[in-house]
Assembly symmetry: C2
Homo-oligomer: 455 residues x 2
């Protein structure tokens, strides 16, 4: 059987490797349009922050290793342009300008995502950069090395923008961040996003939300980011508005697209074509809380989906329950995490959400070195089901969110979560874990609406 994979990053290489382990006789070819496969994309901001490290440190396994040690035919510089489902072939062009055609029995589309670049003048100027592929990271490192970058503008205030603002500040680069939307972190309750905002501003990053981008000008010594009522000068501009799924060739082949134009897949990762799977940032997923489709491109899902595709094409049926939208990022000295639905999402999905925000301590009463942990918890008034949580703090946030993520997978009620037996020792938290305190407060609030409150 011929297993053909388009895309050689997380989802594609996970699928190829596992399929080979599942069935060593499988004929596996991976077509990757860039020259890089299998690297830690999420590690790029941290690598860029450190001028002593090479971007290639992030490569987990070279294409040649997959070829020579695993027997997987990895072809880099191979850009697929079309899929032909009836003929079961794909066609494209290599970096050397050669046309190619490959046939398949089973095909995996793992084309990832691309940074959204506004269709405005000046976004193709030298020094206007984005970060998604390893080559993007390579270009940013090279640009920082070759130029005296004293001032940078980051367009966008999402995870990547914030991680990159920390990376650039580590090199003492002055940073302005600008976005057209009026709210800093719109998915977060203001009380908590304010804590993150303050942290960023404390590190001398200037935030400009609510300015519509017009264009970037190159005139003069510096780049000029021109917005309505605001002009920001910079030696470098990072475009970090977000990413979009690379679903064009799938769409061109007549495959169904779903939410956010991602390739629609079922729980087996199968597209609308019996022989074509999709995984990673190009495809959608079920959300375990809403039960509906969602598109949240993150690394764990990409790896997991790649493995599931490998199992499914090798005859070991796997259905993925879906994702909870769990994510964490670090920005300066803060850990920021979320899982499940936001208030707005919960309302949109027809829940009757109730929320609390609690401020507790990261360590026990009287234990030195404690800081504040903010926890938002959201439950459904009617079913009492736990719907989501967000957390901000200097320590103990990144892994704490996972307890709630597991509860979401288990469809627990707020009461059931509140009754869980979590670990306690003074250096690591209060007796009542901050998430348990949040659950307790949320229960009180939900009970006070429904029936006379006892306390």
């Amino acid at each position: 059987m011929k297993f053909l994979v388009i895309g050689g990053d997380a989802a594609g290489m996970s699928a190829a490797s596992r399929a080979k382990r599942n069935n060593p006789d499988l004929d596996i070819t991976v077509l990757e349009k860039t020259l890089d496969v299998s690297y830690s994309a999420c590690g790029m901001p941290y690598n860029i922050a450190d001028s002593n490290r090479e971007i290639d440190d992030l490569v987990v396994r070279q294409a040649s290793v997959f070829r020579d040690k695993q027997g997987i035919n990895v072809l880099t510089g191979h850009c697929v342009e079309s899929i032909h489902p009836l003929k079961k072939t794909v066609t494209g062009i290599s970096l050397q300008g050669k046309n190619f055609q490959f046939s398949y029995d089973k095909l995996l589309i793992a084309t990832g995502g691309s940074p959204i670049i506004p269709d405005l003048s000046g976004f193709d100027l030298p020094g206007v950069l984005a970060l998604k592929s390893l080559d993007d990271g390579r270009k940013i490192k090279a640009y920082l090395k070759a130029n005296t970058v004293k001032k940078a503008v980051i367009i966008g205030m999402g995870y990547i923008g914030l991680e990159m603002c920390e990376a650039l500040r580590a090199g003492s680069i002055e940073v302005d961040m600008v976005k057209s939307g009026p709210v800093f972190l719109p998915w977060m309750e203001e009380e908590m996003s304010g804590v993150v905002k303050k942290e960023v501003e404390t590190h001398k990053v200037t935030l400009h939300p609510g300015y519509t981008l017009k264009k970037i000008d190159a005139g003069g010594r510096r780049l000029k980011v021109i917005c309505s009522d605001l002009i920001l000068e910079a030696d470098m501009v990072l475009v970090a508005i977000g990413i979009k799924p690379n679903s064009e060739i799938a769409s061109g082949a007549g495959l169904d697209l779903g939410i956010s134009h991602a390739i629609a897949v079922d729980r087996k990762l199968k597209t609308s074509d019996e022989n074509i799977y999709a995984a990673g940032d190009c495809s959608d997923a079920y959300h375990v809380v809403s039960g509906k489709k969602t598109w949240i491109p993150l690394a764990l899902r990409a790896n997991r989906a790649g493995w599931a595709v490998a199992d499914n094409i090798c005859g070991k049926a796997v259905e993925l329950p879906g994702i909870a939208g769990t994510a964490v990022f670090k920005v300066f000295d803060l850990e920021v995490a979320r899982t499940g639905l936001t208030m707005k999402e919960a309302l949109n999905f027809g829940f009757e959400p109730e929320k609390v925000i609690v401020k507790t301590r990261s360590r026990a009463h009287a234990h030195p070195g404690a800081s504040v942990i903010h926890v938002l918890m959201i439950g459904n008034k009617k079913s009492r089901r736990l719907l989501g949580a967000q957390m901000v703090g200097k320590e103990g946030v990144a892994h704490r969110i996972n307890a709630i993520a597991v509860a979401l997978h288990g469809r627990m009620t707020v009461e059931e979560y509140y009754q869980t037996d979590l670990a306690y020792a003074p250096p690591f938290g209060p007796v009542w874990d901050p998430t348990l305190t949040a659950a307790n407060q949320l229960l009180k609030k939900m009970n006070s609406g429904a029936s006379p409150q006892l306390e």
Copy 2:
């Protein structure tokens, strides 16, 4: 209604405070045999490590505050000797030598636990100390201040012994630890307990497992801990063999005792007497994995059980599902955590346990500062249910165990846990959280036994 509470620490004061909030008209009396109520017992080793801090820093609320601000009649120095269930009274003697009698409508026994002191000669000598009550902590601090303690022996190698060995080493005191059992941390798989052992030994603590205690001698300049084939000299001896439930007065009143001689309670915390509840270290609990009774005296359960008693006596019926035996402790630079059953416990409860131990990284590939995390995961071969986990590492252990604890409460299978969407960012872990890697390996191992293995 008269609500009488015996014992003024975690469970007792939690119950009294919440009962008063539930029902401000309630007549509440707390009888505490020592002079201290409501303190952070688990914080004592850290407080003892810091000679600049007073032990009373650990007091959360003074007895006078409960009396004056909350209207709870807290009587310290009141040692209850007998409960008379038919008359609904308790009798005892105060520190001033006065006999007292109190009547109740509902009674809570929250008498806690006491350190186990071997019935051997010399354990009552000056300088032979134990740590459970705040007064024990006070005595240790006073002893360290008044005496030149250069060398200490800790008898026992449990949580408290290990936390105290770190505390004493912080004061540059030479520490030997001795126990009669042959194994360092018997509940832990050797591969992992070896990591803890090495950490302790790296900090110049000498471990002597497998030496039967004979007596302690006072002759000469130092105390002598005399074991079979071993004599250890010390300026101070800490007895940390473990604790036992203070269930004597309950037993004397004819109440049923359960496992480990703890007071037997149902899910409402009710004892075998309709009007008497028990909570905290003196009472037992259901284990959510085995479904059977267990006795694991820990702070969160004590607080939670206190609250549940308050709700139950105030007419708001609460049943506690039970505990998962989740615990964490810090010893030098290591975090050590567990939840659920050990292999031995799982076998004893009739499961068919399978286990894996995985060694992964605390941070992502190529992210600086990573250390090793060891994860043990145990599942049931037959039902595939997750039964327990243990973890050791320098970072990211304390809160990571909670995701598994929640899964145990949710009765998840190993497969269901493996499918959970956990947070990822390079500073906090690999893409596949170490616990997911463990689940994946455990699944492979379990599947290889049951059916032909695909990979």
